[in-house]
């Protein structure tokens, strides 16, 4: 296993170094992909080997980072799960990237891109392996920094620079909070190794524990993209090259969940009920607002990014329910909820990775992300369309794909809470169930829009009309993830059992979790509900085949004629008559107008001679998320105001400067006088 671990390091390191040293961009593209695939595969191997052998992996290099307990990696089950998640998405994304980044040949440095991609994957793989605080922070920040550089690839777009600034600002703010959380935790510990922190955490005062938890929620939440800390996400994810977006959305934000579980569950060992409640509320808000903003997006990748906010919200609902049940002593329910959250995280990695890769193919073929300029791509790029459809079905939580299974499990994990006797738990869970369902429905609507407007109907621009299928490496990358979406759904039973072991032993969870199913069925604790994803899938397939055969051979007419679309007697059907992305979302925009508060700007030019003839009508509408308007804008404004004040200090007058000096002197002397007296 250590060998595999070293192979992982070597793979990524090779990719990074070879990319920098390669003679041409084409070589750089290929060697970096090779390194990343080897590294990712080895990472996945390490994780699987861990689950198979159950031996912890320990790699320590005390000579490095000797200022705080050395570089230390200790892989446990929780870390192995997230390592597997990284590897799972890294391999297809790297393959995909080999083809995708061809478009950058000659425009941007592919050597740099390849090296950064490998370093990004490397640091991301090492975050869940880290065994002490400094190692963790180093990898964590390495991950942020490399991904920042990856975001800053396409710098000809003015938005990219802004996105990068937002990203780095938010992620650094997050780091500060995480750092504070860890160091607060380390206050009473001998070293900063996680094992020591765990022992020390028990001796901390409740107030300190709460502070650590809150800091961790905010710090890791900003990486995970929880509302209201999500503002960087819809900016940075679309700006990055698509395979990087897939990695960021699919994997990186999950490491926020990892961090929270590591601190909240592993190190702190759970806490009072309100911790869980807080997570549920944050998760619910993120889920519903995330999907609502996703619905309003016309930019395909921004839509996907907001949808990541939604899904991370769902994960947090599960995790929060786990914390809550843990505090109530309902162990089986807690196991279910936490496993459901993790399972959803895994699934989201697969389908969101797939969707971003699909969006990348669209971007690759048409050079636009604006859905109002797309359409009809299913003809030019059938494979990409199929893969995107699979991803859409999965993310909409429809059977028989993996998203459905984890949503079902999330529902089921909230149910015991409605039955709880603790005050406020039941109402909270009830609302969470409502939100979960609403989110599911809205996500379905959102992805009908994403897929339907992008891939179906008549192309809305010539770029979309002449779209071509992606090269093979990209199709293979997407194919792997599409298969994963199917496979993760079908293999739900073994996966859920494995997830039980991931959490076993942490925070009062029993070392051997009760199995959540047997044979082909998932069974929730107390046989509350049973469901077999495999058989549902099988049923659907059999019935569909049956129906098709039935229709085919029952003597029904077989005639088929191709004609124009019916258009109320109009002659020709053009793309301008189609429903657009904006139009599709209009009903929901009206329903949730209170939330969106769109700005409207209607300007009508009349004919100069008569105002009964309209020359042109221009209608603009924009939605500024209220989080930004009411939370970030005032803060930014205040900082800027203070900055202007601070600037006034440097007024240019030497007299003023000397006055400060004298005042400082007299001030300190006065303090001395007062204290002496």
């Amino acid at each position: 296993m250590t060998l595999l671990f070293l192979l992982m390091l070597a793979g990524y390191a090779f990719g990074a170094v070879a990319a920098v040293l390669s003679p041409t961009d084409g070589v750089a593209r290929r060697v970096s992909a090779l390194g990343a695939v080897v590294g990712g595969g080895a990472g996945l191997g390490v994780a699987l080997a861990f689950f198979a052998l159950q031996v912890p992996l320990v790699v320590e290099v005390p000579a490095l980072l000797s200022v705080a307990d050395g570089l230390a990696f200790r892989l446990d089950a929780l870390g192995a799960f997230f390592l597997a998640l990284v590897g799972l998405v890294a391999v297809p994304c790297s393959l995909y990237g080999a083809g995708y980044s061809e478009a950058y040949d000659g425009r941007y440095s592919l050597r740099f891109l390849g090296a950064m991609l490998n370093l990004f994957l490397l640091t991301m793989s090492l975050v869940p392996c880290a065994g002490n605080v400094l190692t963790f922070l180093l990898m964590w920040e390495g991950m942020s920094l490399t991904s920042y550089f990856l975001v800053m690839t396409d710098t000809d777009e003015p938005d990219t620079i802004q996105a990068g600034a937002w990203y780095l600002a938010m992620t650094h703010g997050g780091l500060a909070l995480v750092l504070a959380a860890f160091l607060l935790l380390a206050g009473g510990a001998a070293t900063t190794a996680f094992a020591d922190l765990r022992t020390a955490a028990a001796t901390l005062s409740p107030a300190t524990r709460n502070a650590v938890f809150l800091l961790a929620v905010l710090g890791f939440g900003s990486k995970a993209g929880l509302i209201p800390l999500h503002v960087w996400l819809p900016r940075a994810h679309p700006a990055a090259p698509s395979h990087v977006s897939a990695l960021m959305s699919g994997v990186m934000i999950k490491l926020g969940v990892y961090g929270l579980l590591r601190v909240g569950l592993d190190l702190l060992g759970g806490g009072p009920a309100w911790w869980g409640a807080l997570l549920i509320v944050l998760g619910a808000v993120s889920a519903v607002l995330g999907v609502l903003y996703a619905l309003m997006e016309n930019d395909l990748k921004r839509l996907l990014a907001y949808s990541s906010v939604e899904n991370i919200g769902l994960v947090f609902i599960g995790v929060g329910a786990g914390f809550l049940f843990l505090s109530l002593g309902a162990i089986p329910a807690a196991t279910l909820a936490l496993s459901a959250g993790l399972y959803h995280a895994l699934n989201h990695a697969a389908f969101k990775g797939l969707l971003f890769l699909g969006a990348g193919s669209v971007l690759h073929a048409t050079h636009t992300r604006d859905m109002n300029r797309l359409g009809g791509l299913i003809r030019g790029m059938p494979w990409s369309a199929l893969f995107f459809l699979i991803g859409s079905l999965a993310i909409a939580g429809l059977p028989p794909l993996n998203g459905f299974v984890s949503e079902w499990l999330l529902f089921q994990s909230l149910l015991p809470g409605i039955g709880s006797s603790a005050t406020l738990v039941a109402p909270l869970m009830t609302l969470a169930v409502g939100i979960l369902a609403l989110t599911g429905g809205l996500a379905a609507a959102g992805f009908v829009k994403a897929f339907g407007i992008t891939f179906l109907a008549i192309p809305r621009s010539s770029a979309a009309e002449h779209a071509h299928e992606s090269p093979r490496s990209m199709r293979v990358g997407m194919g792997i993830l599409a298969v994963a979406c199917l496979g993760l759904g079908l293999a739900a039973v073994p996966i859920m059992s494995a997830l039980g072991t991931v959490l076993a032993g942490h925070a009062g969870l029993p070392a051997a979790a009760p199995p959540l199913g047997g044979g082909l069925s998932l069974t929730t604790p107390g046989t509350f509900a049973r469901m077999s994803p495999t058989l549902v899938a099988l049923g659907l397939v059999v019935v569909t085949a049956g129906v098709w055969l039935g229709v085919r051979f029952s003597g029904a007419a077989r005639g088929l004629r191709v004609g124009d679309t019916w258009g109320c007697g109009r002659i020709a059907q053009t793309a301008r008559m189609e429903y657009t992305s904006t139009a599709f979302a209009e009903p929901l925009r009206r329903v949730f107008a209170e939330l969106y508060r769109p700005t409207k700007d209607l300007s009508i030019d009349f004919h100069p001679d008569s105002r009964y003839f309209v020359q042109s009508i221009e209608y603009r509408s924009e939605i500024v998320p209220w989080v930004e308007r009411y939370l970030y804008a005032p803060v930014i404004e205040r900082v800027e105001r203070w900055a202007v004040r601070a600037r006034a200090i440097q007024s240019g007058s030497a007299h003023a400067y000397l006055t400060y000096l004298v005042i400082a002197l007299l001030g300190l002397l006065t303090i001395l006088l007062v204290r002496g007296a």
Partner: protein, 313 residues
């Protein structure tokens, strides 16, 4: 073995009965409006005729347009295997619970909406957009109504819910149950495209939803979609009938009880169909943008249902 046979029978029954239910509602509506109305079995003739006609497909449509009717139909048929139409416990009960049924139906809606967008017709887009809006907004109600039931029964699996209500008849009249019934009834109207949410009798209004979406379909494809819609209605009726008023559902697989079950099912369906018919004659269609208000009423009902369930426990 008997169980599997029963599953097959049940599915066949649902398939067979469904167009009749649609015909029944139409007929009753006509009578209520002092018209003679088409016979109850008129939908069967329509389906048969549609199956015999050739399909006309838009030149903009892709393979998805061809696949969608099969997926839609298959999803509702799969759902019939899970819903207790005649008897509990069904052998497939462990495969899926009420949530699975709901998501299977959503799968159909999803594909139908995509198919609506596919030919590029503005009507299709309009219908798809509205259908998804209604479906999304109905979803929380469904989930909460299910949970109100599940809380009482201690399970979301349908067989369990039915069995529980049978053993504790009093629970059928508990406020939670009644409120959940109301909520689910409204959702039934919304999901199956009945008044006041949608008008199934027209495709010329700009407010139409379902009909706009399937406007481009013809021939056997349209037949499959119409049939699937009818089955969906029947599924909702049997859910309403058998989950809330389970009496008559067979608990043992004897011919006698099954016969009783069949009769009781028929009675329940007729009663519900009559209720829908009366409702549809009495009220006008809501403006599209007032539909969410109706759905929020149903959501509140469902919320109250859950609340009273755990308050009274």
């Amino acid at each position: 073995m008997v169980g599997y046979a029963l599953e097959a029978t049940q599915a066949a029954l649902a398939l067979g009965l469904a167009p009749g239910v649609v015909g029944l509602i139409r007929w009753m509506k006509a009578r209520l409006q002092n018209r003679r109305g088409a016979p109850v079995w008129q939908p069967y003739w329509e389906l048969a005729k549609l199956f015999q006609k050739e399909v006309v497909v838009s030149n903009n449509a892709s393979w998805l347009f061809h696949a969608a009717p099969f997926v839609v139909f298959a999803s509702v048929v799969t759902a019939t295997f899970l819903v207790p139409v005649l008897a509990v416990p069904l052998p497939f009960d462990g495969i899926g619970d009420l949530l699975v049924v709901v998501y299977l139906l959503l799968l159909g809606t999803f594909f139908l909406s995509l198919a609506g967008l596919d030919p590029g017709s503005p009507f299709g887009g309009m219908g798809a957009s509205r259908e998804m809006t209604v479906a999304a907004l109905a979803e929380p109600t469904v989930a909460l109504a299910i949970f109100a039931l599940a809380l009482g029964a201690g399970s979301t699996n349908l067989g369990q819910i039915v069995a529980r209500t049978m053993t504790q008849p009093g629970s059928a009249l508990s406020p939670g149950h009644l409120l959940a019934f109301g909520a689910l009834f409204i959702v039934t109207l919304a999901e199956t495209g009945r008044l006041p949410v949608d008008n199934p009798a027209t495709h010329l209004e700009l407010t139409m939803i379902h009909e706009a979406m399937v406007l481009e379909y013809s021939g056997r494809y349209l037949a499959l979609i119409e049939w699937a819609a009818a089955i969906k209605l029947l599924i909702f009726f049997s859910l309403l009938g058998n989950l809330f008023i389970p009496w008559g559902v067979s608990m043992a697989l004897t011919p006698a009880t099954l016969a009783i079950a069949a009769v009781s099912l028929l009675v329940k369906v007729v009663v519900l169909a009559a209720a829908v018919a009366v409702l549809e004659t009495r009220i006008a269609k809501l403006r599209l943008f007032r539909v969410p208000e109706l759905l929020s009423v149903s959501f509140v009902l469902a919320l109250l249902a859950v609340t009273s369930s755990f308050l009274l426990r």
